[in-house]
């Protein structure tokens, strides 16, 4: 998030308002699914834009806070902690996905649901292998 410029959050705010307006009034009767999606995405973008605005004005008023935030973001220990937490979360997610796959079989869910969860699990493992190979070459 670049907090130096004001136009990106303004653009984001306009897009979010357009999406919410479209979802509520333009396509609500014709495409209810798409309308819900527009409202959901619009709402998320709206909150993101508001946070962006608040940060912009806060940092403009207190440059010290901005500098401290930048230091916190670039701090090697913080980066290590974040990466480690993400790796642990991925491990937990993989175990959870295996459990969900078995649960779908036990609950006699449709085959595509079981295959879907297995596919997500396999995609995660493939990504892990790809990145391991990539970083093995780079580092």
């Amino acid at each position: 998030m670049n907090n130096n410029k004001l136009w990106p959050p303004v653009l984001l705010l306009l897009c979010s308002c357009f999406l919410i307006f479209s979802g509520l009034f333009l396509i609500y009767d014709r495409m209810k699914n798409i309308s819900g999606l527009c409202i959901g995405i619009g709402g998320s973008l709206f909150s993101f834009a508001v946070i962006w605005f608040l940060q912009y004005f806060l940092y403009k008023k207190n440059p010290g806070i901005k500098k401290q935030k930048e230091i916190e973001q670039k701090d090697e220990r913080n980066i290590l902690i974040t990466e480690k937490a993400k790796a642990k979360a991925f491990q937990a997610l993989i175990v959870l996905l295996i459990c969900v796959s078995f649960l779908t079989i036990l609950l006699k869910a449709s085959l595509w649901v079981t295959l879907g969860t297995v596919c997500i699990y396999l995609t995660g493992i493939v990504f892990q292998m790809v990145y391991t190979a990539k970083y093995g070459k780079e580092i």
Binding site: I71, E72, K74, D75, E76, R77, N78
Partner: protein, 70 residues
Amino acid sequence: MKNKLEEIRKSHGIRQEDLAAALEVSRQTIGSLENGRYNPSILLAFKIARYFQLSIEDIFIYEEDVNHEQ
């Protein structure tokens, strides 16, 4: 890896906050380094050594060296 960072910092009369600001790291990182909970990257080790105008070996002690001394 042990270190003498706290001792050296205090002998220079510098607060953790000031050292952190000079090295562009968080104060928590300095605290963790001093407690021995975190080992710095080689870049940060060089930054610390340069800041105090010492060599890395003057600040950081490799465990094997400690065992040899004992």
